[in-house]
Amino acid sequence: MTDDSPPPTSDSSASSAPMPEGSPDQESSPRDMVDRARIDASCRGPVLFFFLTAAAWLLIGSALALLASIKMHSPEFLSDTEWLTFGRVRPAHLNTVIYGWSSLAGMGVLFWLQARLSRAELRFQKLLYAVGILWNLAIAGGTVVLLTGRYLSIEWLEFPVWTAALLGLGFVAVMVTSLDTFRRRTHHHVYVSQWYLFGAVFWFPILYVLAHAMIHLGGATGVAQATANWWFAHNVLGIWFTPIGLAAAYYFIPKVIGRPIHSYYLSLLGFWTLALFYNWAGTHHLIGGPLPVWLTTVGTVASMMMFIPVITVAINHHMTMIGHFQKLKFSPTLRFIVFGAMSYTVVSFQGSLMSLRIVNETSHFTHYTVAHAHLGMYAFFTMVLFGSIYYIAPRLTGREWASARLIKIHFWSVAVGMIMYFTGLSWGGWRQGEQMNHDTMPFLDIVAELMPYFWSRSVAGILMTVGHIAFAILLWKMWRGEGQKRLRARKLEQQQEGPTLLARPEEDS
């Protein structure tokens, strides 16, 4: 599977004759380019809105994370304010980054990818704005409720019922929009990313509604509620974030480097095995708990089966990249996404192993699990989101990013921060688990031994937050149109009569 077909001539003159800045390129702009610009323009308003508000939640989530992290080693810090106590900021952090940052940004990526791959315009702009506003209000309200303490301690499901209901409504709109775009596709091929996106938009809303019904409407009681809880919490990763992240990686890696994916067959095999097994993996969070052994064994078996989809993805991403690693130097998107794709392999292998009783005996109940969760949600998913946004936003506005330096600051601070976060807490957490399993070691001695690792987490968190601020500034400037006009946008402008697509005022198209 090599790229040996002769490249079409339309736009490739750049390699031999660099286009002078500002001068029109007199070749006719190909239809594909106009089509893409039209589709991008249809996404511009809502997708940018999702990205911008997501970035705001990322900053809020980072602040809450730092607060929680500092409290772990300096418990007196802001301890006299009840709504800032650890047990409040911890769930507030989780829910703002999951539903605020990750879901909003993820949906922005999802809309754009679905439109681009279907080669159809995104419709229902007004509905999407409404959904975006609704989501933001729901999350804001829900976060206030979390900080004031009127919540139930059900991890990942702390938001009050009305927040959940509003978010659920939003999911339905996402489902409808995605289906509508796909239905109007003008292209025969269904690309693998679309399979993943379909998985996400249909699985997750159902999961979300069923889990809330079971837990809040009294469907499940006692320990069954705990299984419902972890069935849901694990599937948020498995059938919402993972498919979106993999859809993006499967599109952007080949698209950016200009090389078809290594094995398309493997990618489909990966999708279907993920669909089969991920659903069942959640109960490994309850190993050793007050459940019949068969329940947690089901989770362990499914987790081990996850090796199949993970290996297919690992092979595909790596083999596509091989020979192209020098391109990381030139593309911000590629840097973030390759970092994310590699983390996906690591976090999935690690996760499967952690479901084995022999590993779980030590890793369960420790900060090792926290490190693992951040490897998944941050090093994999958030990095893929960053990369996707670096690709998508300039195509929405027709502008370049305002500063290459800020992008590099962003990348290096979050990459170094994340690696530090992961190594520190994994090491510390594993030791914590081993010491906890030596019953002669007093508990408070274990706490004392953990302190340096808690500090390393706060330092890592500061680094990551610096990166988030750089990212938010860039996105803000992008929205304000402060970057240079993109070459392609200029070309389009030269060739269209009247106002160009990208300069068209922001009305519903």
Binding site: P8, S10, P18, V256, G258, E400
Partner: protein, 73 residues
């Protein structure tokens, strides 16, 4: 307990059947017969294989011609 196991295996089977069915649909509509075409469907005439599509601002495709088509494999 027998009923529990029956249900579990029942759902596994139902699930397997639905997956196979969806796969069958994909095959019937030619989504599996042309992996090469599907893999290439993300490229356009003006963004062909061999061409990078993302750069740091200011770098641009004219920054380093070696990154354009034919520079690898």
């Amino acid at each position: 307990m027998t009923l529990v196991y029956l249900l579990i295996w029942g759902t596994w089977i139902a699930f397997g059947i639905s997956t196979i069915w969806a796969l069958h649909w994909a095959a019937r509509h030619g989504h599996l017969s042309d992996p090469e075409g599907a893999a290439r469907s993300i490229f356009d005439d003006d963004e062909p294989p061999g061409q990078m599509t993302d750069f740091f601002p200011g770098d641009g495709p004219d920054g380093d011609p070696s990154l354009m088509e034919g520079s690898h494999d």
